[in-house]
Amino acid sequence: AAAGLGPARPFLARRPGALRALLGLARGLAAGPQTHFGFQNVSEEERREKIYQVFENVAEKYDVMNDSMTLGIHRVWKDILVHKMNPSPGTLLVDVAGGTGDIAFRFINYVRSVRERQLQQKLKRHQNLSWQEISKSYEEERVKPLGDSQVVVCDINKEMLKVGKQRAQHLGYSEGLSWVLGNAEELPFDDDKFDVYTIAFGIRNVTRIDLALQEAYRVLKPGGRFLCLEFSHVSNPLLSRLYDLYSFQVIPVLGEIIAGDWKSYQYLVESIRRFPPQEELKEMIEDAGFFKVDYQNLSSGIVAIHSGFKL
């Protein structure tokens, strides 16, 4: 279709919207339902493939890039998510699009420290324990440091899971951690299985967000909690302009310098702009059946945590 536009191209080049519309139309006549990849219009299948490739390319440098782009602040956002979750020992978490394990590791750390405090409290309360009983409780701590808590990391991309497993090994995480290859739109899990479902910086890359939300609802136990951490909409006009400037001018450059990959990071900033803002996402979550849906803005709306419950 593009070839057929040969002589018309210079004219159309000065009207980018027109050219895009024509190309989009041509592609649309060929492929299935239309959706977007950053600012391009593509078919759903094409979008899934392109996104898979983006993460295949960036997997190795994913964590370095996150630190560079957000100047390390992404770590704070993720800490806040897990603190909001406030998991107790025995919680079963599924972290979808969990790729390199950031949320999973934080969950494990949190539960471990809660468990330690629990055991310490128990010891303090029973100061008349015999020495046998005290050493039995040490044994308990050793055998069950997480108190039966478990996290399943689910991601659609093999490369990201690979990096995640390597990190886990490197950092010494093994207990209570599982890695599953799966699609957020069609999770390989049974109904009513998990206490908490998280998706951090992943739902933006899902092609059918409605399906992902429905799946989240399905796999959660009644009383289970849905938590979503994602880039959102900045309403403050000055901050918004600075944010746009930084996103479009600096981030692709960082991608080129650090990861040798401009295009993936151009996609990243475009996909953030395409994603529904806070209220719209809240409504989508309610539509999937969740109750008491709420959101919390972080960093003036650059990022938001949405929360909902299955009752």
């Binding site: 080049a13 980018p16 919207g17 895009r20 519309a21 959706t35 977007h36 600012f39 219009n41 059918r208 967000i209 409605d210 399906l211 939300l213 429905q214 746009d244 479009f248 001018q249 600096v250 692709p252 450059v253 960082l254 080129e256 310098i257 650090i258 040798g260 401009w262 295009k263 151009q266 900033v269 475009e270 702009r273 395409r274 529904p276 719209e280 409504e283 989508m284 539509d287 999937a288």
Partner: protein, 254 residues
């Protein structure tokens, strides 16, 4: 239910078109002019130049960063090179025909079969001895003119031939000498920076040889020689390296 399904889909087409146009203009400096072209704003070019310079200094083996540095800083040198080519009959032909030096376009067997001392034979020997291939050259991305993108591409592809003509291997020392020659020849800031900062990583013995013999020779040759981009190398495989050196004006290596 159904309401949820419709909201799950992306926003309406009209919204998208407008949003697209607006942010497209903001995000990029224009429209791609050749395959692989990434249009960039002046700010982005400045950031790329600074970032790639630092990255290349940290890790000299990041050829992609050296390439990016060349593209983002060549805005004065590249047009002047292109004009030199335009005003020379052989250079003009190269600009018209746009030959590319790649394994797929070279007949390696034939070149290997040429007599010793010819450009073709020595070039293949150079590639094999140093275990390099002409296919590892990065395509241009950030040059905002299609003809200039070719000029820098040609410069990159001719680099190995420079090694052959100057008789320099691909170790740190050899690369620096070739960079000095190229810096004088092309005026590309990337070559100048590479030539100036490359020696930082050499030990004193090598630095001495560099300073006393190799660099002065490279500079003299660079000055004396005609523009190296004006030679249609692909038509001169049978020419002997010595005669080609004389023709261009490269002084015999020390």
């Amino acid at each position: 239910g159904r309401a949820g399904l419709s909201r799950g889909r992306p926003r309406e087409e009209e919204d998208e078109e407008e949003e697209e146009e607006e942010v497209m203009m903001e995000a990029e400096g224009g429209f791609p002019l050749y395959p692989g072209h990434i249009p960039t704003s002046p700010l982005q070019k400045a950031l790329l130049a600074a970032g790639s310079a630092l990255a290349a200094l940290r890790d000299p083996y990041r050829h992609d960063m050296v390439a990016v540095l060349g593209e983002t800083t060549g805005c004065l040198a590249l047009p002047s090179l292109r004009d030199k080519m335009k005003h020379h009959p052989e250079g003009y032909r190269i600009l018209q025909e746009r030959p590319r030096i790649r394994l797929s376009t070279l007949d390696m067997e034939r070149l290997r079969g040429l007599p010793d001392g010819t450009l073709g034979r020595e070039y293949v020997r150079f590639l094999e001895d140093n275990k390099v291939s002409p296919d590892t050259r990065m395509p241009a991305k950030f040059v905002d003119d299609e003809e200039l993108a070719y000029v820098i591409q040609r410069y990159r592809e001719v680099h190995d031939l420079m090694h052959t003509l100057l008789g320099m291997p691909t170790n740190m020392l050899g690369e620096i000498v070739v960079k000095w020659f190229e810096a004088v020849q092309t005026g590309l800031p990337m070559c100048i920076l590479g030539a100036a900062f490359g020696p930082v990583r050499l030990n004193t013995r090598k630095l001495q040889v560099l300073a006393t013999e190799l660099v002065p020779w490279a500079i003299r040759s660079g000055r004396n020689a005609s523009c190296i981009l004006n030679i249609y190398y692909e038509q001169r495989w049978e020419q002997s390296v010595e005669s080609l050196r004389e023709e261009i004006g490269i002084l015999p290596p020390p």
